[in-house]
């Protein structure tokens, strides 16, 4: 031993159990912070990827500025990439081989750095007569690199363009069965008439500048109106550069959560250190007795804390990282294409740094007060040999209210105000944390919609929305081994009806067995079977203005004449958009045929089997025939699924981690509390306290912490939940705050049940303890 500080590892060995418990607390706190911050970091990265894939990697677009202004903006040091962008949509009625197309013009730098799609084949056009097409056009229009296409428009000479490559088709292009041509800016400006588009200047700024300041600087300098400036709110929001009110509300939510997570970490470590030092009063008294100054004792406690950090912080960080890796791996398995760019073994510097900072700073801060406490221990304490009885109690336990074991348990919990405060605060914070993060579940359900069971992969849609897709085509599709399910609907739009003497219109839609079974979930009144089995029975989709009820009969004015139907069921919602004043009425195919005389479908939805390849899709596309639109929703579904999975996984991940931390924290706290009183329990057993009474006493202590902790947690957590809910949900979707009984019940139940179960192990320890050893230890 060269210094008195060398005593630290020796002391740690002697007090192995206490040290282990304190280390566990540090590990848990670091794990909590690392996991939550890393997960948040990864989620933000995933959302950034999604925002870039959805809207492109631009930050601002300036419309109607001149070349010179564009060049000036491009020359600004904060601008990473910039360039001109022009777009003419399908509505302009440009066609290639008779198919409507949209045309965009952009230079290569912008395409590479800003565009959400990437080149799949060939090269980017460099000449004005060269063109890149969306990948879906390659098959649909049977074009290859090197071919020449004619861009046609009525009354204008066709423009001949050479295909030099193909780019990815976005989900929107695929689902709308539209094709995009991409030209160079020069090519676009030469080919497209000026009155068809607005010239836009796309800008991607440096990640490290104050983007809002730069954008408003440009706006002011060139005296642009607000209409001339567009921002990529989703992306700016994800990189913390948005001034959008809603994004600001989300930032304040994140800040609140950040503080709560930090507090939870700090409190866990603080209460553990406090309890650890309290147990070693005698030891510090002995040190003082042997000549240690107060400063030396404080240094000892601080260094001891840091010593624990040496192993606890890496363990906590590793655990946090592993959890995030597992989540990322799950995401990649669930949605491989969508999260391809997300690293499975990604390292979140933010998470790691927060973990380390919380570990070290908290230990130093938390050690401050126990260190002072330790330094205050009088040398007399050590020599009197009677530390236990000298310890601190200021008021006696009230043995009149409850039996003595329970009274003592409650008193043990509340006797030391500081310890009580720390314990209650750490329990309460778990509840606050859980409640706060549970608002994210509501947010997720509003922000990202999961795929419904009826969402198809492909749809064949009548181009004029009539019942014109041959019924036989459905049979052919159903026979295709790569089609898992195919189901059609017939539509009759704006059918006049008469109800209670009033004239109204309805959209009549036919369902088959699959669609009826999916609709069952939404049945609020009546019977779906009646509609399936009996003719002239219909389902009506509920609307607050709906006058139709189960049992009502109304007459339809169909092409085949006046027909009467009866409402057999009411649905709460349906997959169809509705126009105001137009009821959605659903019936069986037989009823539809009887009412309208139509047999063919308006739309056929197809769900593919997992083995279906691109070629199989092409075969199905070829079956679609003329006068139809072929909508490929696979990429869109993939994106929706990916977005939902990523958010759900992270949000539920947060909740599970908070619940786990709560459980570990309670188990550890109860265990530490028992360790601190082991000697006293020995004496009580000697006097005649039974094991059962001891368990009751410890349980009473644990339950006191958890009941008061739960109460305080509710008192603090509910207003905070309200605040976050209003910031995240009410402000955006208008939903009013509700009492979160579900999450509250879950976390309070976890706290209460865990505190009762946490008594089990310490009780076993007390039971196995020799009374003689504990008494003679004094």
């Amino acid at each position: 031993m060269k210094s008195y500080l060398d005593l630290i590892p020796i002391s740690a060995k002697v007090h192995k159990k206490q040290s282990r418990m304190t280390k566990v607390c540090i590990v848990l706190a670091v794990f909590l912070v690392t996991a939550i911050f890393s997960m948040a970091d990864m989620e933000i990265r995933s959302q950034q990827l999604q925002a870039i894939k959805g809207y492109g990697n631009w930050h601002a677009i300036f419309t109607d500025i001149d070349e010179e202004e564009g060049a000036m903006i491009a020359a600004r040091p904060e601008v990473n990439v910039s360039g001109w962008y022009g777009y003419v949509g399908e509505k302009a009625k440009y066609t290639v081989s008779g198919k409507p197309v949209s045309v965009a013009g952009v230079d290569n730098a912008v395409f590479e750095s800003i565009f959400p799609t990437k080149l799949k084949e060939g090269v980017y056009p460099t000449k004005k007569e060269e063109v890149v097409l969306s990948q879906n056009a390659k098959i649909a229009l049977a074009i290859n690199v090197g071919d020449t296409i004619a861009l046609e428009h009525s009354g204008v000479e066709p423009v001949r363009l050479t295909v030099v490559g193909f780019m990815e088709a976005t989900s929107k292009m695929l689902s709308q069965d539209s094709y995009t041509l991409l030209l160079t800016t020069e090519g676009f400006r030469t080919t497209m008439p000026k009155d068809l588009y607005k010239s836009q200047f796309m800008v991607q700024l440096s990640r490290y500048c104050n983007m809002q300041k730069v954008i408003s600087g440009i706006t002011q300098k060139y005296q642009l109106t607000t209409k001339q400036v567009a921002q990529n709110t989703a992306l700016l929001g994800m990189i913390g550069q948005s001034k959008d009110n809603y994004m600001l509300a989300l930032y304040s939510t994140a800040a609140v959560l950040f503080v709560v997570v930090l507090l939870a970490g700090i409190l866990m470590i603080a209460s553990s250190l406090n309890s650890n030092v309290a147990q070693r009063t005698e030891f510090f008294g002995m040190m003082r007795c042997l000549g240690s100054t107060k400063k030396q004792i404080m240094r000892f406690v601080r260094l001891e804390g840091l010593q624990w950090c040496k192993s606890a912080i890496p363990i906590g960080i590793s655990m946090g990282m592993v959890v995030v890796w597992i989540l990322c791996a799950i995401l990649k398995v669930l949605s491989p294409g969508y999260f391809a760019e997300m690293p499975t073994l990604g390292v979140s510097l933010i998470g790691i740094c927060s973990g380390i900072a919380v570990g070290i700073l908290t230990v130093l801060l938390a050690a401050k007060s126990p260190a002072k406490k330790a330094a205050r221990v009088s040398p007399l304490t050590a020599v009197s040999g009677n530390t236990n009885s000298i310890q601190t109690t200021r008021a006696a336990a009230d043995t009149n209210l409850f039996k003595v074991d329970i009274s003592l348990g409650i008193h043990h919990a509340v006797a030391s105000k500081k310890n009580f405060l720390l314990m209650v605060a750490s329990y309460a914070l778990s509840i606050v944390l859980f409640l706060c993060f549970s608002t994210a579940v509501d947010f997720m359900h509003h922000a990202v919609k999961p795929l419904k069971p009826w969402t198809p992969d492909l749809s064949i849609i009548s181009s004029n929305n009539t019942c014109s897709i041959d019924r036989k085509r459905m049979e052919t599709l159903q026979d295709n081994p790569h089609v898992k399910q195919a189901y059609g609907r017939m539509f009759a739009y704006d059918v006049p009806i008469k109800i209670d003497g009033q004239d109204k219109v309805i959209n009549l839609i036919s369902y088959e067995e699959h669609q009826f079974s999916w609709a069952k979930k939404y049945l609020i009144e009546g019977s779906i079977n009646d509609v399936i089995e009996r003719n002239n029975k219909v389902l009506v989709v509920y609307d607050s203005a709906t006058n139709l009820h189960v049992g009502d009969t109304f007459s339809l004015n169909c092409e085949t004449g006046q027909k009467e139907v009866t409402v057999a069921g009411l649905l709460s919602s349906s997959p169809f958009d509705r126009e105001k004043g137009v009821e959605t009425v659903i019936c069986s195919e037989e009823t539809f045929q009887q009412l309208t005389g139509k047999r063919d479908y308006t739309i056929i939805d197809i769900k593919l089997s997992n083995s279906a390849t691109e070629e199989d899709v092409n075969v199905i596309r070829s079956l679609a025939g003329s006068n139809t639109r072929f909508s490929d929703r696979r990429v869109g579904n993939h994106e929706a699924r990916g977005a939902f999975y990523s958010m759900a996984l992270f949000i539920y991940g947060f909740l599970v981690i908070i619940a786990m931390i709560t459980i570990f924290n309670i188990v550890n706290s109860v265990s530490m509390s028992v360790s601190a009183r082991m000697k006293q329990y020995g004496a009580m057993r000697a006097i005649g306290m039974s094991d059962h009474q001891l368990v009751k006493m410890v349980a009473a202590e644990a339950v006191t912490y958890s009941v008061i902790g739960s109460l305080v947690g509710c008192i603090l957590g509910l207003p905070l939940h309200n605040f976050l809910f209003e910031q995240m949900i009410t402000s955006h979707w208008g939903d009013l705050w509700y009492l979160p009984l579900g999450p509250l019940g879950v976390i309070v139940a976890i706290v209460l049940i865990t505190s009762i179960l946490a008594v089990h192990n310490p009780a076993k320890r007390i039971h196995n303890l020799s009374i003689v050893d504990t008494i003679s230890a004094q």
């Binding site: 009885s389 109690t393 200021r394 043995t399 003595v404 074991d405 000697a686 306290m689």
Partner: protein, 227 residues
């Protein structure tokens, strides 16, 4: 009337070369109201004897009967309750519950039995102990001598068959030691209380009925001293 009967009590710690025979075939009896002291050097086995007699420690072999009941044939739970009701302990380091007042500490064994204490008895004990005006004080507000008096009160309150006192004066100065001894003698005479006390202070044995000496785990009855 025979209260305590100890029969061939042995206690062995460790195995092989490290084996220590702390008690070797110890046998003795005590009559009701008898006040006996066990003396011996440090490590002679006197505390082990007391712990085994009190049911705090299990002997390797031998029997301990209290009013004819075999202490070690009982299940642990029953033994705990039996100990609570029939054996009072006075420890060197008092072992008071710091969160309970003087009065609560004294009635603690009764409270553990979920019974209501008899206020008259409590007052009487407090008076005997000279702690009436301290009844609502916490142990931390008392001197060592006063704390030990509370411990004696706690041992007396259930009117147990046997009080076991392990160096009750070990932490006290001579004045407080004498007070504690006077109290124990008073308890023995006044309440006909059987007391077995361990001490290494031979001076204290002058006021007891009988003295045992333990040397290397062997108990020798030195007979009565007071007489």
């Amino acid at each position: 009337m025979e209260i305590l009967k100890v029969e061939k009590l042995c206690k062995t710690y460790g195995k092989g070369e490290t084996q220590v025979n702390a008690l070797k075939d110890v046998s003795f009896t005590m009559q009701k109201g008898e006040f006996a002291a066990v003396v011996g050097e440090s490590g002679s086995g006197k505390s082990t004897l007391l712990n085994c007699v009190g049911g705090l420690d299990n002997p390797t072999s031998g029997k301990v009967y209290l009013e004819g009941k075999d202490l070690f044939s009982m299940k642990e739970q029953n033994r705990t309750v039996f100990r609570r009701r029939n054996i009072g302990f006075v420890f060197q380091s008092f072992q008071l519950i710091p969160e309970l007042t003087v009065e609560q500490n004294i009635i603690f064994p009764i409270l553990l039995d979920y019974q209501k204490p008899d206020p008259a008895l409590v007052n009487e004990v407090l008076e005997v102990l000279g702690l009436v005006d301290r009844r609502n004080h916490l142990p931390s507000q008392l001197s060592g001598g006063q704390q030990q008096r509370v411990a004696i009160g706690r041992a007396l309150i259930t009117k147990p068959m046997l009080i076991l006192a392990d160096e009750p004066t070990g932490n006290l100065d001579s004045k407080n030691s004498q007070d504690v001894m006077d109290l124990l003698v008073k308890a023995s005479r006044h309440y006909q209380q059987t007391i077995l006390m361990i001490t290494h202070n031979m001076n204290l044995t002058s006021s007891v009925d009988r003295v045992f000496r333990v040397t290397d785990g062997v108990l020798v009855d030195l007979g009565g001293i007071r007489e």
